[in-house]
């Protein structure tokens, strides 16, 4: 799941470089409120999970998102 998620995440955020597990996603130059909505929408569609905002607020790295999905699938 990790590799696929990283690829999809890279495409979703239109990143020039592939994203890595320990990237702090809020530090990406193109991270904004629309990017946040894209991630919530993507995770819901792909994994059927709506990440609650308070949970998302605690996440720092891309791995944190993956771990949350794994724990809630």
């Amino acid at each position: 799941m990790e590799t696929k998620f990283l690829e999809q995440f890279t495409e979703l955020l239109e990143m020039e470089q592939p994203v890595k597990l320990n990237d702090i996603f809020r530090e990406y130059e193109n991270w904004d409120s629309l990017a946040y909505l894209s991630v919530i929408s993507f995770v819901d569609e792909e994994y059927g999970i709506v990440i609650p905002r308070e949970e998302f607020g605690k996440m720092k790295t891309v791995k944190d998102i993956i771990d949350f999905i794994a724990a809630n699938s």
Partner: protein, 351 residues
């Protein structure tokens, strides 16, 4: 569970009016760069919307829509036993705008008239109320009016709300007829999220004051005053993608109707990103889900009826099962499944 079912009550006709002035999101908002505007329009799908001038109120749009409907359908006005006006941009704080409209529309004094303060869920909730009034033998016809001038509510300098909203009014005539068959409504409220979409000042909790009119820069560079609408877009998105699919499933289940039996799904026109997410999540065929937001934007409670008038006038011949769903400010959420049998649909008028 607030669920309701009705027999042989339905929509006889529907008309809409919009302001003449077309506001083009890609070029007309000088508070943002062309690049920003284009990125926002790409996500929201709202290319243009109608903006009312200072002298035009929501009630004027509903008045125009009502006159068209009553005249062209040749309705005897003495048979309108109730008028419901739904808006969060009324003429006055008091009296109720609906009562003013009873007089303007030359409806009899024996007509019940009142306002409902609801937004995006307002057409569904109001329609449920109209149907319930019509269960009385003595109530013959109900006029349900939805009107908004939301462009007067939100700051054009707020990137979350400054590109979304449009002004419009609709008039819906509800009556009794054997042809309508059964219809079903499921309505929900979530007051824990009342601050997700709100205007802070101007009521009695926080009265208007000199400070409340001052525009301030907030988080993420959003600029608005306390007299203007605030929206927590991310919170609303989370609510909608979680609760709306549930509401639709519950309504289908309550009605004993399969998703495939529904001819059209008419959703509140929030924004393209959110509505398309709903379509994919619910696995709906694109040609069953009309969109009008590219032309009129998000018109709050008007968006469901104006989408029917604007997008389904060519398609609604014969008998159709139509699912409608409205969701937003409150937060409030309503879904209904209606049998719509050859309704009269007016041509959208411009004032």
């Amino acid at each position: 569970m607030a669920s309701f079912t009705y027999t042989n009550i339905g929509i006889a006709g529907l008309s809409a009016a919009v302001p003449k002035y077309v506001y083009r999101n890609l070029t007309d908002n000088n508070n943002f760069t062309a690049e920003d505007a284009s990125a926002i329009v790409e996500k929201t799908g709202i290319l243009e919307r109608r903006v009312a001038d200072e002298a035009t109120c929501a009630s004027d749009l509903c008045f125009a829509a009502s006159e068209q409907l009553l005249n062209e359908m040749n309705i005897d006005r003495t048979e309108i036993d109730a008028l419901i006006f739904i808006s969060q941009t009324p003429d006055f704080r008091m009296p109720a705008t609906g009562i003013i409209l009873q007089h303007r529309l030359n409806l009899p004094k024996s007509c019940l008239a009142f306002d409902i303060n609801l937004g995006c869920s307002g057409f569904v909730v109001g329609l449920n109320l109209a149907y319930s009034l019509l269960q009385q033998d003595s109530v013959r016809k109900v006029l349900l009016l939805n009107g908004e001038t939301r462009t007067k509510v939100y700051s054009f300098k707020d990137r979350q709300t400054g590109f979304l909203f449009g002004d419009a009014g609709t008039a819906c005539l509800v009556d009794k007829n054997q042809k309508y068959g059964q219809s079903w409504f499921v309505l929900d409220s979530d007051g824990a999220k009342s601050d997700y979409i709100s205007i802070k000042t101007g009521g009695y909790r926080y009265p208007s004051n000199p400070d409340s009119f001052i525009e301030r820069e907030r988080e993420n560079g959003r600029i608005y005053s306390d007299e203007q609408g605030y929206m927590d877009g991310a919170g609303v998105f989370e609510f909608v993608i979680t609760e709306v699919p549930r509401s639709i499933k519950r309504t289908l289940q309550f009605a004993g109707v399969e998703k495939e039996q529904v001819d059209y799904f008419v959703f509140h026109q929030a924004n393209k990103f959110m509505n398309e997410h709903l379509n994919r999540k619910l696995k709906l065929e694109a040609d069953k889900v009309p969109f009008s937001l590219q032309k009129f934007g998000n018109t709050s409670s008007v968006s469901v009826p104006i989408t029917i008038v604007s997008e389904l006038s060519e398609k609604l011949s014969g008998v159709n099962k139509v699912l409608i769903s409205g969701f937003g400010v409150g937060l409030s959420l309503g879904t209904a499944i209606l049998t719509i049998d050859n309704p009269w649909l007016g041509k959208i008028s411009e004032i």
